[in-house]
Each structure stands twice: as C-alpha cells, then as structure tokens.
C-alpha cells in the first residue's frame, strides 16, 4: 500500500487531527486557530479532488482502517458516487472556512473563537466520515459526530433563542439517530454483518423477511428527519435562522445533502433496486411525499419576512428534488439528483453567504431591508441575483441543469404528474426570489436620498463571487459533473458500485 492511497483516509484523518490542535494553537495566538482550520480543510479539499480523479480513472478504492479486513475492521469505501459528494462537501468546507474568518470574528465572542473553529472542523469531519465509510454502524457514529458538532454550532448563535433552536434540533436529531441505529440493529440481526458490501451481498436472501422491512423503515424515517423532508422538517427553519451566518451556509450546503447521499446509498446500493419490486413500493411513497414537500416548502418560503427563514423553507423544497430524483429510480433522474447535490450546495451556500454579508454590514435579516441593496452592496446583490436565477432554474445556470435532468427523468420513467410539480415550484421560487431582486434593484423609496455604497469586506465577497462564478460555470460547462453523475447513477442503479 503506497502513500498515495493513504491520502484517501487522510481526507477524514487530517481534519480529525486538527480538531484538538486548533484550540491548542489558538491559545498561542488567536489567528493560528483560523490558519490551522484553513490548512486542514483545504488539504482535505485537494486530497478529495485527487481521490475523485483516482476513482474516475481506476475504479472504486477500499481502505481498511488499522489494516483489519472486514468483517472485523472498518472499511472506507470510495466509489464514484461518494467521491463526488466528498468533493462537493470538502469544497463547501474550503469556501466557508475562507468566508468564516471575518464573519466569525464579527459574530463569535473573542475567547470562544478557537473552540468554535474546532467544533466547526469536527462538524465536517463527521460529514466526511459519513461519506467515506463503508461500515453502516460507523456511519451512525459519524452521523452523531456531525450532529453533536452541529448542535454546538447552532447554539453559538448570538441570539438567545439559538439555544432553544439547538435544543429542539438535538431532541429530533437524537430520535432520528436512534431510529437509524435501531434499524441498523435489525439489519444486523437479519444478516450478521455491518459492512455495507457484505450487507449488499447477503440482503437479497432475506428480502422477504419482516425484520428487514422494519429495519429499513426505521433507517428511512431517521434519514428523512435528518434530511428535513417535508413533514419532518420542523427543526430546520429555526436551526438555520438562529445559527451564525457561516454555520447556516455550511449546514444548508452540506448536511442535508450528505443525508440524502446516505439515503441513495442505502436504497440503491445496500438494498438493490429489486427490493422495491419484491417489497413495499417505498419509492412511490417517496414521490408523493417529496412532491408535497416541494410545493409546501415553496409556499411557506413565500410567506416569510426573514430572509434566513425564507432560504430555510426553500431548502426544504430543494431537498425534495433530490428525494424525488432518487425515488423515480431511473438513471437520468438519478443523475439529476446527484448533480443537484452539487448544484444546491453551490446555490444555497452562496445565498447564505450573501445573507451573512448583509448581516455583517447592515445587521439585518429582514427581507424588506434588502431595499436598494443593488446600490449599497453591488457585488453581493449581483451574486444574490445569480444564485436566485440559478435556483429558479434559468438556463445557463446550474439550477437549470438539475431541473432539466429531473424533468427528462420524469418523462423517461413516465411519471408525468411530477412535471407540473417541478414547474409549479419553479414558478413559486421565481415569485419569492423575484420579489427580493425587485427590492434590491428597482424600488427606491421616494424620500430616500442618495444610497451610499457600503460593500462587505473582501474576505466575505470573494468566496461569494467565486461560488457565483461556479454556478455559472457549471451551468454552461455542465458536461464534467454530469458525466460523473451519470456514471455514478448507472453504477448505483446497476449495483455496480462495489466492483
């Protein structure tokens, strides 16, 4: 085993090592804690790029922790699907840590900054671990690591209700995790293994057993809570609203998406697609749930006056797209879902970046305070416009790409009734983002004097614009991610991920 292969495990291990170092060096000098955070997360990002290229070139890679082969040891398994999700997540981590420097200095009290960064990195360690692991119990452990770090991060919000928001999330999150661990127990009972690959091999024999049904049901319900799919979304709006801006951005861009990835993995690669045929039609159910979720999320978003809440409800709608794509069970739609993981991460992360920049400069989160932002903070407003056009699905932005694949996928598998849902939600999205763009550019109070330009500092604007640039870039040159996503979707549906 050469050193290059170790690079793959280092994606998780280096940030993990950084977690204890950050508060230590933060004691020496406050700045150091940020530099170490940046170092660790950027290393992860570059290593994950390398990983993706490796996997693209030469197929899935397995890594056995401690050299113990399964079933005794824990395996990290990298295939096209999770390498892609890994790159997305590490990229968001990388961008948000750049953004964090000034944002955190503004929002977190001085003496808590090192601890904050440590928890921030821990949050990503959990996510990276969830993506990387090939052991289903290990998945639960990493899930809890992210969740715990997430609770702490939300509670770091300045406003007093943040603690209560975090507490509510904690209760729901723990219930979800307990459901998942219970489900894992059922699967273990039926098969006697926890390794995902072994599970995939052994499960077909016991597809008809009730234990497996129950286990899957528990896992799915747990994941639906974690993903904040419509009827189980109640924790999400408050959590996003009260957390510090960089946390909202990082969380909105990654955590629900990683949960969605886990769902895809469990539904299509641990369970095979035939399970749906033999067993209960879970996916049909998913289509209904997510369709309702998409519409309800959009409608609720329209009625908000707080921008963070609006984006949070929009997230609930958007996660519905990914679930919907997975539930239609055909390669086209599924690749749309996978690509939407990237696209939504870019768009929502960017939107929260802009909201953070506005909060930094103007200290407000009210939508009505966006009036005249086009003059006041031209760059941020411009980025916001790009993100919102993208989320509406205007061509040449990333949002269009995922919608195109979703609609084509719906046609391909003859789910006609899904098309109006997607289109209606696009229209609703256009309404609530259009309103803000109108406020930013075209509505000036008559009694207002000349608006002074008051752009956020470079450290906040630069990552925002970079993400906006990517939104356009991947909208125009979508071939690269689409190829990866399509290949991953084929492998996922064909059960070829383990080879």
């Amino acid at each position: 085993m050469n050193f290059v292969e170790h690079l793959h495990v280092l994606i998780v291990a280096i940030p993990l090592l950084a977690v204890p170092i950050i508060p230590l060096v933060g004691r020496l000098r406050l700045d150091f804690s940020w530099y170490f955070t940046f170092l660790a997360l950027s290393l992860s990002f570059f290593m994950s790029l390398n990983l993706l290229m490796n996997v693209w070139g030469s197929g899935p890679v397995s890594y056995f922790l401690g050299g113990w082969r399964p079933p005794w040891g824990i395996e990290f398994h990298f295939d096209l699907l999770n390498s892609f999700v890994m790159v997305v997540t590490t990229f968001i981590a990388f961008v948000s840590v750049i953004y964090a420097k000034q944002s955190v200095a503004n929002e977190i009290s001085y003496d808590k900054i090192p601890a904050f960064y440590a928890v921030f990195v821990l949050f990503f360690v959990g996510l990276f671990g969830m993506i990387a692991t090939g052991d289903i119990f290990n998945l639960y452990v990493f899930l809890e690591i992210t969740s715990l770090a997430g609770y702490a991060l939300i509670a770091a919000g300045k406003r007093r209700y943040a603690k209560m928001a975090s507490f509510n999330y904690l209760i729901l999150g723990t219930i979800a995790a307990t459901f998942i661990v219970l489900g894992i127990g059922y699967l273990y009972m039926a098969t006697g293994t926890l390794n995902m690959k072994d599970l995939a091999e052994r499960l077909p024999e016991v597809y008809e057993s009730r234990v497996v049904f129950t286990g899957l049901a528990f896992i799915i319900v747990g994941l639906l809570i974690k993903m904040a799919v419509f009827p189980l979304h109640l924790w999400l709006p408050d959590a996003y609203k009260y957390s510090p801006s960089v946390v909202s951005a990082a969380m909105a861009a990654t955590s629900t998406k990683v949960a969605a990835y886990v769902m895809m993995r469990i539904l299509f690669s641990i369970f095979k697609i035939e399970f749906n045929v033999i067993g209960i039609p879970i996916t049909e159910l998913f289509i209904y749930i997510s369709s309702i979720g998409i519409i309800v999320g959009s409608v609720l978003a329209i009625s908000q006056t707080n921008i963070k809440l609006m984006l949070a409800y929009s997230s609930i709608g958007q996660i519905g797209y990914i679930v919907l794509a997975a539930a239609m069970m055909n390669p086209v739609a599924l690749s749309g879902g996978i690509i939407h993981i990237l696209n939504h991460a870019l768009m929502k992360g960017g939107l929260f970046f802009v909201v953070g920049a506005v909060a930094y400069k103007l200290g407000t989160e009210k939508i009505s305070d966006f009036r005249g932002l086009g003059k006041r903070m031209p760059l941020s407003a411009f980025a916001f416009t790009i993100f919102s056009m993208s989320i509406v699905g205007v061509p040449l932005t990333v949002g269009f790409v995922s919608k195109w694949y979703l609609v084509t996928g719906a046609v391909a598998s003859a789910h006609w009734y899904v098309i109006p849902v997607i289109l209606l939600s696009s229209l609703l999205t256009a309404i609530y983002f259009g309103r803000i763009i109108n406020l930013m550019y075209f509505s000036k109070k008559p009694d207002e004097g000349e608006i002074i330009r008051n752009e956020a500092p470079f450290g906040l604007v630069a990552p925002t614009l970079a993400v906006a640039g990517l939104c356009i870039f991947f909208g125009i040159a979508a071939s690269v991610p689409i190829e990866i996503a399509a290949k991953a979707a084929d492998a996922l549906i064909g059960g070829g991920l383990w080879k």
Binding site: F137, L148, K163, L170, I175, G185
Partner: protein, 129 residues
C-alpha cells in the same frame, strides 16, 4: 399467540421502553424530563442490541473454554460506542439547558416560548417607534 409474545419478550420490552421514552419526549414540557425520556428511548435500543447478542447457554467471550458457546461480542462493542455518543448528547443537552435557564429563568418549554414571543413583539414595537 402466547408464544409470539413470550418468545420474543426482549423485543417487546425494548419496544415498550422505547414508546415510553418517545411519549416522554413528545409530551413533557420540562426540558430535563425531555432529556430523561430521550435517554430511556436510547437505552431501549441499546438493550435491544445487547439482547440480540445472547446465545443460548453462552458465556462471555473473554478467556473462555473454546468448547462452550459464547455470546456475540460485536453488539457489545458497538453499544459501548453508542453509549458514549449518548452520554455526549446528554452532556450537550444539559449544557444547553443550563444556558437556557440562565437566559429565560425557566426550563418549561411553554414559558420559554411565551417569553420569546413577548421579546420578539417588544423588539418589533421598539423598532417601529
């Protein structure tokens, strides 16, 4: 029927405990009671795990006579991890409750919500003036 219930009594106990915990999480307004219920909920799952590891007449797999059947050690190890996680969650939850108590002077959910609403409306009023 009797067999169905008695034969799988470990499952039933786990389920009953779980539901007790779940009820508590939903119905109790006191945050500490919520946490206690949550612990019951989690512990039920842990018990379930441990109980599936039992082998009839098995012994502990530590320095044992190789001819005697032994219990499956893997769930035990897993549950050890899960317990640590649950302790950590409880710790975070309790820390949050302490902060909430400092801020709001109560740990009853309804009161907290009341105070929060009052604060929000006051903040809005001040802004208007």
């Amino acid at each position: 029927m009797i067999e169905f219930i008695a034969g799988k009594y470990n499952f039933w106990i786990a389920i009953i405990l779980m539901m007790i915990g779940f009820y508590g999480v939903i119905a109790k307004g006191n945050l500490v009671k919520k946490i206690i219920s949550m612990n019951i909920f989690q512990t039920a799952v842990f018990l379930f795990y441990i109980s599936i590891a039992v082998v009839d007449g098995g012994t502990a797999p530590v320095l044992w006579d190789k001819n005697v059947p032994f219990d499956n050690p893997l769930p035990h190890v897993l549950i050890l991890t899960a317990i640590v996680v649950s302790v950590a969650t409880t710790a975070v939850a309790l820390a949050l409750i302490i902060r909430i108590y400092k801020d709001y002077g109560t740990i009853e959910e309804d009161h907290i919500r009341e105070i929060h609403t009052k604060r929000v409306t006051e903040a809005r009023k001040n802004e208007l003036c």
